[in-house]
Point group: C2
Chain length 230, copies 2
DNA sequence: GAACTGTAAATTGTCAACAATCGGCGATGC
DNA sequence: GCATCGCCGATTGTTGACAATTTACAGTTC
């Protein structure tokens, strides 16, 4: 088939996508702050490229909604309001519930494959919980959910969820310390995994719903605090 | 507030987005055929612009998934397989079911506003059914569903559905005459509207599900025919 | 002192030229 | 006859320069 032994297709993906992926990572890691303007010349120089390819990448991220473009003024990193948080998690609920159903209808092999990866993520998560590495935990949290959705094999659902995951990480990042009680977090994900493995469709759906509703609560409450103190 | 009397913000939207919107319309109308390569120079000249802004627009459509980019070879219009059709309608089901729930939980005013627009669309649809204007019917069909989703007010759900609507129109277009029994089509949409107006959550959900499942059946069966005859 | 106007710097939007890459086609060798 | 190599046209990828617009600031006027 493809790539027989140690040979990779050289730079198979388009440049703009590579740049967009890098920028997305920088955004969710907080290198670019919400509301901040992206200076094309500066970022292009930093990435050792010219403004052309960079602008193409920026357009991709605008389409995703991570950046917003004001004509003749430039592109800015999205600022998340409480309404945005509710929107994001409402869509996540829709996607993850659909993924739950699809996975349950899929073969046991497909479920097992997914569960195997999810187990490893939870293991990693537990490690980082031990040392309270928030950034890593946020990344693994979203990786868990992304893997879950990826288990469906639906490329469109996966692509949609990629953006949602990025936005979710921005939510979490925007309030620095958002995770209340870290051990509960690991426990909740373990619970989702168990229900998936057991094939408990109804239970899984309810657990997903509650997991996300709880997240919205934590995020909006924390945000109210920051808004009041600010 | 904004635009007090007859004054509009001059060209408020970014250029790349305007070009992308035009191209998307051309794609779903079949001006660009599936699998066809987009010649940058030619299209840029046709749009009275240069390759720079055009390429930015193309990147947006690549991100959406309507175009696919092969490095150093160019961008091509998406070719829809039966697997794609199933994917698209699976995501549509997820989105529309979520929209149903959100709308039902929303206030009666919001529902009424939506229903008013939906009624007009159905009226238009009936007109075009009388003269069997397929293109118009396909457009109104998706406009009905887009309006339904837009009723939730969730901007992210709306943006996601925009792409799905475009892809759906491509599905329908790709097999020329896809609508079996036009009167039934109008009837089905009227049924959805009635259930929404009546506040019958369960009934609406089931109707949406069956409506989409039926569409997939029609599309995949029709596609099998074309593939056999081809 | 406040409001308005005009200028200047910085940044984005656009363009045209250059470089790199790919697919096709004919020539060559086996 | 078939496969391979190498060239050529066409198209994309990239760059730097130029034009247009916005924002901030200083100067002016009332």
């Amino acid at each position: 088939m493809a790539a027989p032994e140690g040979l990779f297709v050289l730079e198979g993906r388009p440049t703009a996508q590579l740049i967009a992926d890098q920028l997305r990572e920088q955004i969710v890691q907080g290198t670019f702050r919400p509301g901040q303007q992206i200076n094309e010349s500066a970022v292009a120089a930093q990435l050792r490229t010219s403004r052309g390819p960079l602008r193409e990448a920026l357009q991709r991220l605008c389409q995703e909604g991570l950046l917003i473009s004001h004509r003749n003024r430039g592109v800015f990193v999205l600022e998340l309001s409480t309404a945005d948080i509710k929107e994001i998690y409402a869509v996540r609920e829709a996607v993850e519930l659909a993924a739950s159903n699809t996975l349950m209808d899929a073969g046991q092999d497909q479920i097992n494959d997914t569960c195997r990866v999810l187990k490893e993520i939870i293991r990693d998560m537990a490690k980082h919980v031990a040392v309270s590495d928030w950034q890593a935990i946020a990344r693994l949290d979203m990786q868990f959910h992304s893997t879950f959705v990826a288990g469906t094999g639906n490329t469109r659902l996966i692509r949609i969820y990629e953006t949602l995951a990025a936005e979710s990480r921005m939510c979490i990042l925007s309030l620095e310390v958002a995770y209340p009680r870290l051990d509960v977090l690991v426990q909740e994900h373990q619970n989702l995994l168990d229900l998936l493995e057991a094939g408990d469709r109804k239970g899984l759906q309810q657990a997903v719903k509650r997991h996300l509703e709880k997240a919205v609560e934590d995020l909006t409450v924390a945000r109210l605090d920051t808004e009041i103190t600010a």
